[in-house]
């Protein structure tokens, strides 16, 4: 773990650390925690490395790299026996009293711990607690070492040197683990590609840090890291860019948004990549032509959704991305898209609610709202990805469902995914298939229209009607949020109403039949395990990781990860639950929202719940512990998890 004040380069250094490890063939999972603040508040980045796939974080830290007092004071407690803490001895004497960004309750907890061990309220006091536990403490006088590097380069500006402290912390960490320095150098070269001077001086700083650590603490640290060969092509991705890249690939050419954490990173990524390469194999014309995606920052989320809908009426694949507060504003627009059968994709990055809630923290609290946002009944698809790889492929599915079934699709991801990084096997664009449904453009033959007017909402057995885009010759029709007839004119006729309602809702039956099982849910583990976990979204990673450690300890569980929440795969879930022995619902919200949805759709009672709503994603150990207690019968019906800083 590395931490520091927001704006001090924690993100960059963690990225360099993670990339240097990923380059060496290690699997990496990284998670970022930060306040709703721009500069000054504490943020930290946790990186987990392994020879095998890792998908979640753990609560205990092997190595804590700090360069400020606050990180040491807050996180030293989490370091395991035999772990290590790198710290700057010049902050050792700092008093906790003087660290103003520590909130009162955190401060009170720190003091009571220190008092119970008769230690001073200082960095040294906290480090002493760790020392007593068996943690190795590694002082690293960053500025002393850096000044020597500065002399070498004729760089004496303190602020320039200070900027390299975080890279030094990375280097010091790797040095302790004996990880080869050339991997770190390589990561630096990639990070600062366009600035050879910066690379050079940073590499010198890394070298100095390596030398210092080897010199002082040679071989003292028990955890070693070494590169391993990589058989596959691999990428290291972050949530926001993953969804963005997938939108480009899926043909999304209009994205609207209003800034909100953690959703807007995706739109900004798209804006930065608004010119799109087309496949050269198609024709010379395509090579010369570039595609483009128009990204529009609107005045609010109401404008964002309605603008995307307006675009979709002309045939473009349109989407908007938001999180809770913005999605609340979009509710009326969702209904309009539903009654007018407009293909629309809303990417919903869940964060801690209600209201502004925990703006930069994690929660899966919007499932119910995604299912029910807007008044009245409309058909909709709600799809929840469990990790970034799923999200990549799900984006295309979301657009395909939207166009095939002509309805709004809410694609749920979350803050944990948006702000986590993970190594994956290279995504494969060849697996992507674009399906546009019954869209019509160009010209409609005269005999297929009513004197140039079109029965856009024609009743059909599937409920799906051919859809001319605005601008189609001979396809004139009307849209209205009022109930309407087949041409789209307002109608309050009760018979028409029933016909139209049935037509629209029928599309869900078709979707249910057509969508393959693997897009609806994933099932992991042996069929006949004594415990069945049900969950959804990004808890997937921690559950899978916990399942592995549970198995090592002889506790066998299987796991139903629900992905398509609407239309709900009733029969499939019933079938799985009917053979389950004990069903445990695990999710990141107060009311166990998925549990309720399952009960409502299947009438199956769930046996136990594991919930968490403190804004910090679930760790592997938390799930491990909870399931172990459930297995031995010592857990209450509802387990509330609380780990995380």
């Amino acid at each position: 773990m590395i931490g520091g004040a927001q704006g001090s380069g924690v993100d960059t250094s963690a990225n360099i650390f993670a990339k240097a490890a990923a380059q060496g063939g290690l699997h990496v999972f990284g998670k970022r925690e930060y306040y709703s603040n721009i500069k000054g508040e504490h943020s930290y980045f946790q990186v987990r490395l392994s020879k095998k796939i890792v998908r979640s974080h753990v609560d205990t830290i092997d190595l804590l790299a700090t360069f400020d007092d606050e990180t040491a004071v807050r996180h030293a407690w989490e370091v395991r026996k035999d772990g290590g803490i790198i710290y700057d001895p010049t902050v050792g004497g700092n008093n906790i009293d003087d660290i103003h960004t520590i909130e009162a309750p955190v401060r009170a907890r720190l003091y009571s711990e220190l008092d119970s061990q008769h230690l001073p309220h200082s960095v040294e006091g906290v480090l002493e607690v760790a020392r007593r536990k068996g943690v190795h403490i590694y002082p690293m006088p960053y500025m002393d070492v850096l000044k020597k590097v500065g002399e070498q380069f004729g760089e004496s500006s303190l602020s320039s040197l200070t900027r390299m402290i975080n890279v030094m912390a990375v280097a010091a960490s790797f040095a302790l683990t004996d990880y080869p320095q050339d991997q770190v150098n390589e990561a630096l070269r990639k990070q600062f590609k366009s600035k050879p001077k910066v690379v050079e001086i940073n590499i010198a700083a890394v070298t100095a840090a390596y030398d210092y650590m080897r010199d002082k603490y040679n071989g003292g640290f028990g955890h070693k890291l070494a590169p391993i060969p990589m058989a596959e092509k691999r990428i290291f991705v972050r949530g926001s860019s993953t969804v963005g890249i997938a939108k480009i690939l899926s043909g999304c050419r209009l994205q609207t948004y209003y800034p909100i954490t953690p959703a807007s990173d995706e739109s900004e990524y798209l804006e930065a990549h608004e010119i799109i390469d087309l496949d050269g194999a198609l024709s010379n014309e395509a090579q010369a032509m570039k595609g483009s995606i128009a990204v529009v920052q609107t005045e609010d989320e109401i404008a964002a959704i309605t603008m995307a809908i307006g675009g979709a009426l002309t045939g473009v694949r349109a989407s908007t991305s938001t999180s809770g507060p913005g999605f609340s504003l979009m509710a009326e627009g969702i209904g309009w898209a539903g009654i007018n059968e407009v293909p629309l994709v809303v990417t919903l990055y869940q964060r801690g609610g209600p209201s502004t809630g925990l703006p930069t923290r994690h929660e899966q609290g919007d499932l119910r709202f995604a299912l029910h946002s807007g008044h009245g009944d409309i058909p909709r698809v709600v799809l929840a990805s469990g990790d970034l790889e799923e999200a990549f492929y799900d984006v295309t599915r979301a657009f395909n469902y939207a166009e095939k079934y002509q309805l709004p699709v809410i694609h749920i991801v979350d803050k944990a995914m948006a702000n986590s990084d993970q190594t994956y096997k290279m995504f494969d664009p060849n697996l992507i298939k674009i399906e546009r449904g019954l869209m019509i453009s160009g010209t409609i033959p005269e005999n297929e229209s009513d004197h140039g007017e079109f029965h856009r909402f024609k009743e059909t057995p599937s409920g799906i009607s051919p859809r001319p885009v605005i601008g189609t010759q001979g396809g004139i029709y009307w849209n209205t949020g009022d109930e309407h007839d087949e041409k789209g004119h307002i109608s309050e006729d009760p018979t028409n109403r029933v016909m139209m309602m049935d037509k629209r809702m029928r599309k869900l039956d078709v979707a249910s039949k057509e969508i393959p099982a693997e897009e609806k849910f994933h099932f992991f583990g042996p069929k006949d395990a004594p415990i069945t976990i049900v969950s959804w979204g990004s808890t997937k990673g921690a559950i899978l990781d916990a399942m592995e450690s549970l198995k090592e300890d002889g506790i066998i569980v299987n796991f139903l990860q629900l992905r398509l929440i609407a239309p709900f795969p009733v029969d499939e879930v019933k079938e799985i639950l009917s053979r389950a022995k004990k069903v445990v619902d695990i999710e990141m919200n107060f009311s166990a929202q998925l549990g309720g949805v399952i009960r409502e759709n299947t009438c199956f009672p769930l046996d136990q719940y594991v919930v968490k709503y403190n804004g910090r994603s679930m760790s592997q150990e938390e799930i491990y512990d909870a399931v172990r207690h459930i297995a031995d019968g010592s857990a209450p019906k509802r387990v509330v998890l609380t780990n995380g800083a």
Binding site: R234, R253, D277, G310, G452, W478
Partner: protein, 322 residues
Amino acid sequence: MALKLTDLKSDVHNDWCPGCGDFGIISAVQMAMAEMNLDPNKTAVVSGIGCSGKTPHYLRTYGVHTLHGRSLPFATGVKLANPNLEVIDCGGDGDGLGIGAGHFVNSGRRNVDMAYILYDNGVYGLTKGQASPTLKLGVKVKSLPLPNINSAINPTMLALAAGYTFVARGYAYDVRHLKELIKKAIQHKGFAFLSVLQPCPTYNDILTKEYWGGEGLLDAAGKQMPRTYKLEAQGYDGVVKSEDEMEKEEKIKLAVMKSFEFGDHTPIGVFYQNEHVPTYEERLTQRMPTYKTSPPAEQKIARDDGTPLANISKLLDELSVN
């Protein structure tokens, strides 16, 4: 083939109250479209919610009757996705200046090339005559239990402040004049705002057809004087003719001054026009050169077998670790 007025009329029964100013507006829209020979297949009329919101259903073009207050972002989405379409937005004064005020202001910043016709009747017609944002403080139209407690917005000034590049006002019963204004608004390069004084005989018994016609306002000779006058007839010229910022400022000031005139001497016509401000489409084209020739709605995104046309290998390479 020249368009006939009947080509532009849908066969839907029109349920506006007899004598409603909306009839004048829709006639002017149809006449303008016919004279401009706008292809109904390439035209979208977008509206909000209200009596005014029903306009698209009575026209034979693509019609998009949206949500209360949201017609502007809907229309913007249509236009930006396919700039080859003609987009005309029709909305009520409550729709555009009350619930949709945020969109009204921000549309000025974008300057998307489309026309917005605001039906200014001083009331919320479809919800039975509550005060709209253009009704003056203290006025009690017949549907109000008590005089209006809010001050009125000056839509012309608001539009100017928000950066609209075409600001005009028409009168629903001067259909010929209104038609010309609508044509100008559609032809204008950029976002055109045309508010229309629209008598609502059912709920607004103050700003009536008779009122605008000059009832009770007599000239020296004892002749009834209409309360509207035409800006152009007075030699007023609100058109900015160069990129000079000073000229723009002068013309805006002139228009703001004019916007205070209301009541016995109410100007109609073009207050301000400036085609030297780049449209949103032009701004997008600057960033994405193929935007106009290959707009979002017309881009091919997949081959016939469904394989995507976008090549993302560069984007994936940026993330690759080996």
